[in-house]
Point group: C2
Chain length 145, copies 2
DNA sequence: TTCTAAATTTAGAATTATTATAAACAATAA
DNA sequence: TTATTGTTTATAATAATTCTAAATTTAGAA
C-alpha cells in the first residue's frame, strides 16, 4: 500500500503544508495500518521513533488530512475515540463494540451508493462513514457464559 | 411518525426497563425529530417540560436505546458531539460540517447493502452509521467570498 | 554560510462531551 | 405499611480533543 502513503503526503503538500518527518511518519503509519487507528494509536506507534512527538501534532495532521478529504473519520467504535481510515475507496467498515476492532468488508453495492450520493446530493463531499457496528464472532462467544 | 415513538418505548420496556415520564419524553423527542439530535439538543428541548431533567438521564436513555439496537449513533458532524437517529431503516445521512445539520437522502442501494451485511458479516449487528459529510449548498455559498 | 521570517512542533493547560457516584425519589409488591 | 428495587438528579470525575505560547525547524534571501 505504498501508493496511499504517497497520496497522503502529496495531498498535504498540495494543500500548501510542508512535509516534515513527523507528518510523513503519521501518513505512513496511517496508510499502512489495517487497524483504522485512533490518534492515540498512531502516537503510541510512533513514539519509539520520535521520542518528543506530541499528540497535538498527530491530531493536527489527521485533521488536515480529513479536511482535505483524503482520510475518512469513522467515529467511535465503543471506545471513546475517533478512528480514521486512509482507504477512501467505497467500502463497508464493521466495528465490534466489545473489542473495538474495525475491519473492512467488500460489498458490490457501496460503489453504486457512492456514485449516487456524489452525483445527486448537491453537497461538496469530503468523506464518508459507512460503518456497521455490533459484536464480532469472537466477542459473541465470550458473551455466552 | 407516531409509530417510531411507540417502537422506542416498547423496546425499553421489553428490555426490562420501566417507562418513566422522562424516558417517554426522550423517546418522543427523538422519534419525532428530523434533526438527528444530540443529547444536549434533546435536553434543551425537554427542559421547559421537565425543569429538573438531568443530562445524565438523556445520556442513559440514549445509550440504552442504542444498545438495544433501536437507535443509531451516527457520530459527530463537525461539532464535538454524537448525533442520534431513531430511523433505523436503511438510508443515507448527509452531514454538513459547517452548519452541523444532518439530513436524510433516499437511495435504492442502501437496502441491498444492508441486506448483504446482515446476511454475510457473521456479526451480531446492532446498528449502522451510513453518513456522508461535506458542505451543504448554503454553506458552500457562504464560503465563496 | 548566515540571517530572517514563517511554519511547525512541543509541552502543558484548558475545554468540554461523556461517564460515574451517591443521595433523593418513585414505583412495586409483600 | 414497609421493604426493595429501579430511577432521577446534582455534582464530581474522566478523558478525548483543542488551545496556547514558547522553542524549534524550515525555506529562502543575502
Ligand atoms: Mn476501512
Ligand atoms: Mn437519518
Ligand atoms: Zn469483538
Ligand atoms: Zn451547511
Amino acid at each position: 500500500m505504498q501508493i496511499t502513503t504517497e497520496r497522503l503526503t502529496t495531498s498535504l503538500k498540495s494543500a500548501g503544508m510542508r512535509m516534515t518527518p513527523q507528518r510523513a511518519a503519521i501518513c505512513k503509519a496511517l496508510a499502512e495500518s489495517e487497524a483504522h487507528p485512533t490518534a492515540a494509536m498512531i502516537y503510541d506507534e510512533l513514539r519509539p521513533q520520535f521520542d518528543s512527538l506530541s499528540l497535538a501534532t498527530v491530531y493536527n495532521t489527521l485533521e488536515a488530512l480529513v479536511k482535505i478529504g483524503v482520510v475518512n473519520a469513522l467515529g467511535g467504535a465503543g471506545d471513546g475515540s475517533i478512528h480514521y481510515d486512509a482507504d477512501t475507496e467505497p467500502h463497508v467498515n464493521l466495528a465490534c463494540i466489545s473489542c473495538n476492532k474495525i475491519i473492512d468488508i467488500p460489498s458490490s453495492h457501496v460503489q453504486q451508493l457512492d456514485d449516487e450520493i456524489t452525483s445527486t446530493s448537491g453537497y461538496k463531499l469530503l468523506g464518508a462513514r459507512v460503518l456497521y457496528y455490533g459484536l464480532c464472532p469472537e466477542c459473541q462467544k465470550k458473551q455466552e457464559n
